[in-house]
Point group: C2
Amino acid sequence: MRDLIDQLRAGDTYGQLDRLGWEKLLSPFVLTPQRRRELGISCDVDPATEGRLRSFYQAVAAGIEKATGLVTGYLLDLSHEGFGRVTVFTGRLVVVSEVLRDAHRFGFDSIDHLAGRGEALVGAAAALVRAHPEVARDDS
Amino acid sequence: MRDLIDQLRAGDTYGQLDRLGWEKLLSPFVLTPQRRRELGISCDVDPATEGRLRSFYQAVAAGIEKATGLVTGYLLDLSHEGFGRVTVFTGRLVVVSEVLRDAHRFGFDSIDHLAGRGEALVGAAAALVRAHPEVARDDS
């Protein structure tokens, strides 16, 4: 979560978010079932939603860098219809690979859910790096 | 090259390309130095150019599937400014990873150059799969 907050503050060129506390900052990531239903999926994915998707996975990538000491890269390949895939890799090892559906409605039930999901992704990635250290360090 | 031609024909829902020979079909992939200079880079990447980029790397992915017998996935993450990255992976192994610059001007000096580049990517990917068979088959 600290990594996600860092990501959001880093993207805030004019400091407009400085006065917001972390709960306010993360509130757009939380979608109640009702808000979720209200979101249409007939248009392109909203740029703000895509921005939140990128922030979340960049924060996961940053968390993996801290947990493993290795440099990561990430890719998000999203169609206009909200389908796609995100991967985070280190060296030649794919440490996160998720298929995205319904990206229009990207969000979490609660801040706890968000934090838990991020921690689970970082933990699983660190375990993969321990299992395949040679591939994770292959920067060819 | 056969894989690339297959990709192009597969995307041709209405059979408008059926009457074209393979040389005509591949000609948009060839950029002479003069055509390259004429292309502006001030706008978003042209959808047709992005389509050619995707066709090329999908054809590489198809070639890797034939060479290794393994299923591949690919991601293209491209900014509007023409920068980005493309990866092809099999299991948890990244078998192609290229940074893209100047995607507005994606193209090859000649058909031979295109074919050579595709073959080199497939060959390098197959060697990586042989070096790390366990990771390449890890579909967790």
